[in-house]
């Protein structure tokens, strides 16, 4: 039997579609870990990015710190998350993975949000103020909608990075699709290994596509001329 045949057989084996090590469970775990991490990062990064983008206060310091954060290896985040999780008595599995993923995602979102808001044409902001918008209205009615494609690009980049890195959570006894890869490597079970790799790759690409769809739904068609420039993925961020 060829390897591809073995992978196909593995993927279509009904045993692998049920139970705690089944594909649906692993996908659900993967999405749950990623979703919680992206959500926590979003709650931190978005307001902060909007604030420093709008006021430009503390921008240099924040962005410098974030750029260093962006350069850190993802495995290093996991390395530090493990002792941190033990120190907080959060144990293995879910929490060390989340503790690793949140600081990984924050810089990607924050820097993009900040840059997106700063990038809004100052004439628009002046026109908005000149028409009598309050600061929050300037931010909410003009800056955010105009910056939205770039803000979403940042969230997308962070989400894809998180989905990719959540794979490494299997190293700290986390669930998710990384399980198949780590176990496949350990047992030299190449069918499992390849199936896991294919599933993770598909999940990453699906995340990417899902955000492209979200962007299309929430971004004003009036901004679509800029789409081409914004569709390029942001450089940086090892996965």
């Amino acid at each position: 039997m060829t390897l591809l045949g073995a992978v196909w057989a593995w993927l279509t084996n009904s045993v692998h579609w049920q139970g705690s090590d089944g594909i649906p469970t692993r996908i659900a775990e993967h999405l749950w870990i990623s979703g919680v991490s992206v959500f926590i990062a979003l709650v931190v990064a978005l307001p902060l990015g909007l604030l420093i983008g709008h006021t430009n206060r503390g921008a240099l310091v924040t962005v410098s710190i974030m750029n260093v954060g962006r350069a850190l290896p993802s495995l290093a985040f996991l390395a530090f998350a493990l002792p941190a999780s033990f120190a907080l008595n959060l144990g293995l599995g879910f929490w060390p993975t989340v503790i690793a993923l949140v600081p990984l995602a924050i810089p990607l979102m924050l820097v993009n949000t900040y840059a997106a808001i700063r990038g809004v044409d100052p004439d628009l902001v002046e026109a908005a103020r000149g028409m009598g918008m309050r600061e929050l209205e300037v931010l909410g009615k003009v800056e955010v909608p105009v910056a939205l494609p770039l803000i979403i690009a940042g969230i997308r980049n962070a989400a894809v990075t998180v989905v990719a890195t959540a794979t490494l959570g299997a190293l700290v006894a986390g669930g998710g699709l990384g399980r198949y890869i780590v176990d496949g490597l350990a047992r030299q079970d190449y069918a499992r290994l390849l199936a896991g790799a294919i599933l993770v790759a598909l999940l990453s690409i699906t995340t990417e596509v899902a955000f492209a769809v979200i962007e299309r739904l929430v971004v004003s068609p009036g901004l679509r001329l800029d789409r081409e420039r914004l569709a390029l993925p942001d450089a940086g961020g090892a996965r």
Binding site: D123, E126, A127, M131, G132, R134, V142, G222, L223
Partner: protein
């Protein structure tokens, strides 16, 4: 809020604007010395007038304009709108009652034309139906077709169309005062000419008071009821109606700024009716002009006419006099003399 309701509270007609010894200084960290952007500015704009602030870049004209809606706050002095000091009014409420148009227009790219125009009505909480009706009215007012423009986005408009929508947006809640910062500066000369004419027509119909910033002296002369010529350092060199500016420039600076062709410019702001015409002779003389024709156009026609004379008729077509080269020359002599 009560203060701002009272200020600019009328629905129709223009406001009075008064600058009282207004100065604006910027502290420069380089040497610590404050630098004056505007120095001791005093001027009055009467209701329904277009006051044009003109001067080279960096002369403080835009700063002066932005102090009216408090985008910039004066260091000293007062700006009164209908007698009320703007510094006593909530800036947000103040700005909602003053139309504001800038050169780059600043149309919001994510909002349709209708949504752009509806910005201020929405901010002040007009009912939806009223906003919808007003939007269509305004699109038509600036000479576009509401049905075909309402749902477009700014990126789908030409430069001239964007300027029109910018003006419409600024007029959404019938402000008694409009602030315009080089509003026609970014369009080509032919479109600019047309926009200027339409704007003049609109302004006269509505009786708006307008403060208008430009660096183009020709635009200032064409649009201004009065023109304030700024010089470097934020002071006014002369504040007078365009004709007077051309006929009697107060200083060498103003003379240079209005240009050596100011005699011709002056002709462009005079109508044939303003001239002392020769009596009508029995035989019809040369080309026939309406009394409202500007003298510069009449001169251009006379230069091509065989006998260098033309008949001026009133609005009902009755001849009221004859215009000749001499008539025109005598009208601009004071200017010619001061050119020596």
């Amino acid at each position: 809020m009560t203060r701002s309701d009272e200020l600019l509270g009328r629905a129709k007609g223009g406001a009075t604007v008064e600058f009282r010894q207004v100065s604006k200084h910027y502290a420069r960290s380089a040497n610590g010395q404050p630098i004056a952007a505007v120095r001791d500015l005093s001027l009055v704009v009467q209701p329904g007038e277009i006051c044009v602030l003109v001067g080279p870049s960096g002369c403080g004209k835009t700063t002066s304009l932005k102090m009216v809606n408090r985008l910039i706050e004066p260091t000293s002095g007062q700006i009164l709108i209908d007698g009320v000091d703007v510094m006593t009014v909530d800036p947000v409420a103040l700005r909602r009652r003053i139309g504001y148009v800038i050169q780059q227009v600043g149309l919001f790219p994510h909002r349709t034309i209708a949504e752009n125009i509806a910005t201020v009505p929405e901010l002040v909480g007009w009912p939806k139906a009223k906003i919808r009706a007003r939007v269509d009215e305004l699109i038509a007012l600036v000479g576009l077709d509401p049905a075909s423009y309402r749902d477009r986005y700014p990126s789908q408009l030409s430069g001239g169309e964007r300027q029109r929508i910018g003006v419409a947006r600024a007029m959404a809640i019938e402000p008694p005062l409009m602030l315009m910062d080089e509003p026609f500066g970014a369009v080509d000369p032919i479109v600019r000419e047309r926009l200027q004419n339409e704007f003049l027509d609109l302004q006269r119909r509505l009786g708006l008071t307008v403060l208008f910033v430009t660096h183009d002296i020709d635009e200032a002369i064409k649009l201004g009821t009065r023109v304030a010529v700024f010089e470097q350092g934020g002071t006014i060199a002369q504040y007078s109606p365009p004709a007077e500016l051309l006929m009697r420039p107060a200083t060498d600076y103003v003379a240079r700024f209005v240009g050596s062709d100011r005699a011709l410019k002056r002709l462009a702001v005079m109508r044939l009716a303003d001239l002392r015409l020769s009596p009508v002779s029995s035989a019809g003389e040369g080309p026939v002009f309406s009394a409202e024709t500007n003298v510069r156009d009449a001169l251009a026609a006379l230069l091509l006419a065989p006998r260098a004379a033309g008949t001026v008729v009133d609005s009902s077509g009755v001849p009221i006099g004859v215009v000749t080269m001499e008539t025109i020359a005598s009208a601009v002599q004071p200017v010619a003399a001061s050119l020596e």
